[in-house]
Each structure stands twice: as C-alpha cells, then as structure tokens.
C-alpha cells in the first residue's frame, strides 16, 4: 500500500522545521504525511551547525520562542528516547553553553546593554572579564576585552535531530516521502482539500508550507505568496582535533550581523567543536539568490575571524566548506500560522539560521493553533498577515 493515499495534514518540506511540525501534529493524533522534493534533512538542515541559542537574540518575540524551544528540546528528546529507543533518539544534544566575546573597547558597552536586557527577559547570562573568559576557554585570544557566558546555549546535530523527529512521525502511523514534489494545492469551496503529487491527488485537510528558503516558491505554487528569501551561509570545517573549544564562542558583532538586512556579505566569527573533534567555523550571510558557487573571499574572511579568536587554529587544516541557504524574512521573524487567504494552508518558515533551535517551539505553536489551543508563546508577531510581511506580499 502506498503511504500516499490520504492524510489529515500534509507537511511540505522534511527539514528540521517540517519534521518538528509533523512531530507535534502527529503527537496530537493527526495522521501526517511529510513530503520533500529532495532527500529528507538534505538541504538547509544538512548545512546547519545545529544551534540552539538564546545568546544571539535580543528581547522580543523571537527570544520568547527561543526560550520556549530551549525548554522543550530536552523534554522532546526524552520522550523520543522512550518512544524510539536510545540509538535513534541520540542526536548529539550538548548543553554546552555559549560565550560571546568582545575584542575591542567599543564593543564592551553594547555587549553589557544587551546582556542586561536579556537578563530581564529571563535569559541566564553572566558578564565576564578577560581572565574569567579564558578560564572557560583556555585557547581564546588574550585580545578580548569582555565576555558574556550563556549556560543555556546548546547544540544538536541537525540531521540526526530531523531524522529522529521524522522517525517518530512514522512510528505514529504517518509517512515520510523523499524525492516527492508537491505540484500544487487542491482547493475546494475556497478551502484546502488536498495536494497534487506525481499527478495524483492526495486528499488532506491541511497543508503546512515548511519549505525553508524555498517557502516563497512554494507559496506562489500554492497561490498564496509570502516573502521568504534565501540568505546564503558558509561554514568551514577543520580536520578532527583534540578537545579545543568547549562552548560555542562568537564575537559580539555576530548579533548585529544576524539582525542586519544587508544584501552584502556579512561575516562574523563563530567557532565551536563537534563531538567528532572537528571545529566548525562560521558565519557568513549573503543574499545572492540561490547561487551555490564558491567564493574564496568568504572562506578567507571566515578563516581570519576564527584565527583572531583562537590563534591556535592557525596551523590546523581546513578540510571542508559547506554552504546552505537559510530562509530569510524582511523583518527577521519566522512565519508561523494560518494563511488568511486559503483556509487550510499554514506556513512555518523564515527562521533563517535559527531553525534548529526554534523547531520544537514552532512545531508546538503550529499544533496548538491548529487544535485551537492557546499557544505558550504569543503567536501574533509570527502571523502570516503581519504588516511587515504583508507589505511585501505581491499578488
């Protein structure tokens, strides 16, 4: 029997957001079909570092969602462990903490202002001087002027996380189909009645657009355009090394780089180790459409930033560079909720580089909204017809 016969909900996109939405929807008893035109967890998710961060978010709706997601991640993994077993639920979760460092005098005050505001918003953060920061990260440059330690920052391996969530969907009677493109929505009486897949109709009551950077494309196919654009990011990977960087360490200007809407290249050093010993070096942001070609200048700037923070890396080999597209919205907020134009169409996208961290909160918010429950986090700022996003919607 083909898994694609009918479903309560069809989730389009099997990345971390689609997987988290499908998990939450199947947890509330729905039969969920997840389809992806490529391999599940094979695009943006496979090019992510697996950030679960509070430190890089200023107080506001995104931080609220991040706090809820951060609480939810360990609970979710615990329940998956019970449901799927130890091996499948092992997603390399590390509550490693984050360290934000300032490397000049001018950055000290802005860093202190943001940590103060974050503290008021409920984030655990400790202001540190140079000596205390280097006690946490002994290989850190002596050139730092101030630092902030965020014990709540964490990391997962995004492909393991997404495939574990999708395994839960399957275990609950849902299905996941890779290599399957949705050709369009079937709308009857002004409402979603199904999707067209491989020339066949799959009846369903709701469709979730979780196409990440391609959510804009899909929304056009669905007849309800939203403005989600690709923003490109590159990461360098070193050869495996002995334990070197215990936390996620990044420069204070990273926050400004994340919040920037510039089309031009933004590079800000982010350095962290993975459980296999490789060190990941980010981060770059560039709005160049879906152009995948290599730019050596981006790699050079990433390398410079990393060596500046950790001089010991200078003679270490870089063996790999990977790039991906992240879903960008003009006001830097994810889109989560019902589309007012087509009842039954929902969107969950636009998380840019924070999708892995925000995934559990996003899935839960979507399921709460669909079930008519009041979400833990106020969903209004994420709604599809908000002014900032609506202004961009072209018919």
């Amino acid at each position: 029997m083909s898994p694609i016969e009918s479903a309560d909900v069809v989730v389009v996109g099997a990345g971390i957001i689609g997987a988290a939405c499908a998990e939450a929807l199947s947890a509330s008893g729905r039969r969920v079909l997840v389809v992806d035109r490529g391999a599940p967890a094979g695009a943006t998710t496979a090019a992510g570092e697996g950030n679960v961060l509070l430190s890089d978010k200023a107080p506001g709706p995104e931080l609220d969602l991040a706090l809820a997601s951060r609480r939810r991640w360990p609970e979710l993994l615990e329940s998956l462990r019970g449901e799927l077993g130890e091996a499948l639920a092992d997603v390399e979760w590390e509550a490693k903490g984050g360290l934000v460092v300032a490397t000049d005098q001018d950055s000290i005050t802005p860093l202190r202002i943001i940590t103060e505001a974050q503290r008021e918003a409920g984030v655990e953060v400790r202001d540190l001087g140079q000596a205390a920061a280097r006690a946490l990260e002994p290989h850190l440059t002596t050139a730092i002027t101030a630092a902030a330690h965020y014990p709540g920052d964490a990391q997962v391996q995004p492909v393991l996380a997404a495939t574990a969530l999708l395994a839960a969907v399957r275990a609950r009677g849902g299905a996941v189909c890779g290599g399957t493109a949705v050709e369009g929505l079937i709308v009857k009486g002004g409402k979603v009645a199904g999707v067209r897949v491989g020339g066949e109709a799959v009846p369903c009551g709701a469709v979730v657009n979780a196409c990440g950077p391609w959510a804009g494309h899909f929304s056009i196919t669905a007849g309800a355009p939203i403005e989600v654009l690709p923003r490109r990011g590159m990461v360098l990977v070193t050869a495996p090394l002995p334990p070197l960087v215990a936390r996620k360490v990044y420069a204070a200007d990273y926050v400004a780089s994340v919040a920037s809407g510039d089309v031009d290249l933004q590079v800000s050093p982010v350095v962290e180790s993975t459980p296999t010993g490789t060190v990941l070096i980010g981060s770059s942001r560039q709005r160049t459409g879906f152009d995948e070609s290599l730019e050596v200048e981006v790699l050079r700037r990433l390398a410079r930033g990393a060596v500046r923070l950790f001089p010991v890396l200078e003679r270490v080999p870089v063996m790999r560079a990977y790039g991906g597209f992240r879903p960008y919205t003009p006001d830097h907020l994810p889109v989560i909720g019902r589309d007012p134009r087509i009842p039954g169409l929902w969107h969950a996208s636009g998380h840019e580089g924070a999708g892995v961290g925000l995934a559990p909160g996003t899935g839960r918010m979507l399921a709460d909204l669909m079930d008519g429950r009041r979400p833990e986090v106020d969903p209004v700022p994420f709604r599809v017809d908000r002014p900032a996003l609506m202004a961009q919607i072209k018919a």
Partner: protein, 461 residues
Amino acid sequence: MNRIVVVGAGPAGLAAATAAAALGVEVVLVDAAPKLGGQFFRQDALARGDRFTLPFQVEHVPNATVWAVEPVAGGHRVHLRIGAADDPSRTGRVLETRALVLATGAFDRALPFPGWDLPGVFTAGAAQAMAKGQGVAVGDRVLVGGTGPFLLPVAASLAAAGARVVAVAEANAPVSAWLSDPAGAAAGGRRIPELARYAGLLARHRVPYRRRTAVVEAHGSRQVEAVTLARLDREWAPVPGSERRVEVDAVAVGFGFTPQLELAVAARCRIEGGFVAVDAAQGTSVPGVFAAGELTGIGGAELAASEGAVAGAAAAKRLGAVVEPPLGAMARVRAGRRFAAALAAAFPVRSGWTGWLREDTVVCRCEEVDLRRLRAAVEERDVGGVRPLKLASGAGLGLCQGRVCGRNAAVLAGLGDTAFARRRIASPVRLGELAAAEPEVESADPPWSAAAERGFGQDFG
C-alpha cells in the same frame, strides 16, 4: 598574461600543454608532484633531472595543490598552494584563465573487506608509486588483487623492486570477457601486445595469475600476516569451500579507478555516469573548461594523451589561436573510447563484493564507520541522500572527504554513486594559509572573438 591553465601533468595534461604551446599559446601546467608524468609515467623521484622536456611556452608549476576553482566573470580563478605538501609555509598563487584544462586523472578504487584497514593492505597504485617512484617494494611477499589490466604492471613493478609476488588475483574472467568484444579490444592498438608482454614477464617470474579469485579477508593483529583468497562466482560471491589462507606481508588491491572530479564539480561541469561529460573538442558543459584523460572515462594513457592533444588545441582556439581541427588526435580519441568501453565491459565491479563485508567491517576508513553504522543510518533513520547519509552515519566526513569510501558507501546505501564528489575545498589548507592576504590575482587578458567562443567540436565534431 593570456594563457591556458592545465591542471595535472600526467599523459593528458602533458599532451594538452604541448599541443597548446605548439600553437603559440602560453600555458601554465600545474601539478602536485615534483616531476612531470603523473601516475602513469611515474618517474624515479631519486634520479636526477626530468625525463620530460616541455616547450618554452609552458611554465611548469610543480609541488602545487589546486585547493579551489572559483568561477568568475568570463572564466575561472585557480587557487594554488605551492611548496612542501601539507606544510603551513606553502606560498599562494591565484591564476585567472579563460581556458582551463582539467586533467586531474583518477585514483584506485578500493573495495572494503574484513581487515582491509590493517597496515600492509595497500592500493595497487600505492604499490606502483612506491616501486617506480621511491624504488622500494611495499612488502616481501605481496599478493596483488582486484580487477583490470593495471594489476599486471603493478605486479611487474613489485617484482622489479625485489618483492616476491605470491599471486595476481583477478576477480573477473578476462579472456572470455575480451572475446565478447573483439572489435573493441582491437581498438586498443598497442595496449594488447603491451599486456601480453607483462603477462610474459610475470610468467618468467613464476607469478600465478588466478581468474575469478579475490582477497576476501586480511588477517593480522598489528599488520597483515595472511589473506584469505576465494574463488568467486559470476557475481563475485565467494564459492563456499574455495577459501584458502595465504601467508603474505602485503596486499595490493585495485578495482578500477575513480576520477578525481572535485575541480570539475567546483567549475560546475556536468557529470554523466560518473565522469565529466565532454563534446568532440573535449569541452565540458561550462564554456572555457575542458577535460581530458581519466576524468572523462577510464581509458588509459594513450587515450588520455589523445584527449589532451584535442583539449590543448581547443583551449588554444578559445584564446584566439588559429587552429586546424586536430583530426588525427580526434580519430585516436574515438578509437580509444571504443577500447575503453571494451575495457569497462571486461572488468566490471560486480555486486557480490558487498557480501565480503561483515557487520563490523570498516567502510569509511577515516571515521572508522562500519557497515552496521552505515546500515543503521539508512534503515532506522531512512536516509535518502548523500548529505544526510554522511551526517547521519559519519561516512565520508573525514579528511579524505569520501574519496575512498564514497562510491562504496553510496552503493551500500542504495544511492547514486558520484554524489560524494562535491568538495568545495579540493585539498586541505591550513587556516593560516586561508587567513593570509589573497595573493595578487594573475589576470587573464582576453583577446575576445566570437570565433574563439565556439569550439571546433561544434564545427567538425
């Protein structure tokens, strides 16, 4: 400066550089080795001088690693590190060109079997490179195994370097295989007598040549002490009861070759059936990028040289040289391809090799990922693409970036088998090398003409 950049100084690259130079075009010939010739014409590294001489128009850049190829407007930027291999003190050079010839060759395909990660198990290419290039045999009692005519010169080189070659184990049944395509075999020209000569040489050294036989396990604690040889059926499943143990201190295995695709992939060339797709003028799908030699199909040195000659002329034409189509070389390419097709048909890799593995057999040597872990990723996590397979299993994530395990892991996972070839950083560089200021770009000056845009493949192909 207006010149062609040729990457790789094996038979294809040498021929490309020479052909372009003969047309009056300047060439930069970049190669990783200290001496010319590549793997096929491997020179004795301990001898003085270089066997090959190049025309004055060719600048040979030895000891150079191309770590990135970057598409830029009108051409490509080739990023080099030059100096002692893997040393942080290498110097950088950036060449911009409107005519790039990729002749990066191929490397041995090794199939996994229990014990293949023990010291003393080598690829056939390693045994050859050490014998011819370094004058040393990889062992005293060596068994050569795998498939393809390359096993014969490897055994001959080992014998010449003083090793006792215990046997050559050929997994296919070559005589009947050749007979199935006599015209293709005949198209090989000098190749057949050359192979006959090797066979005679091995007979004089009393080296047994065993057909439908393979090394299915290597034994030893710290290094190879013995192997299990087994007869194979048509699909390469070991014939029960045929196994026997042979004492050796080294094994050299090769199951054909894998093209070194990453620069072609970085240049966005179309890949077809595992090789770079080229037209009659060796042009790839990307204007200004040509490919020659094993990159376009495994066919040996003669075909590679013919393709190189065509690619060199086509690249020269792109830079505005007045070029008559090299009809002779083009005809040799066509004949060579028939031979290559016969070769591929005679020495395929059959599916039964997957049965040689046990659950704990290492598939990815770098990350020590065994078959069990690879299968868990596919079966439990339902992984359906190369990127998620790598991240879910760990296979292909190590320093070799899937060069050794990629094709095998893809087969074991049921995925397309060239998808591992995407490597934006083609060879590791130290972070400090990357962080250093970009060397001044040696730009490509265009004498632009519409005629030059068109390869002669389109005129005469």
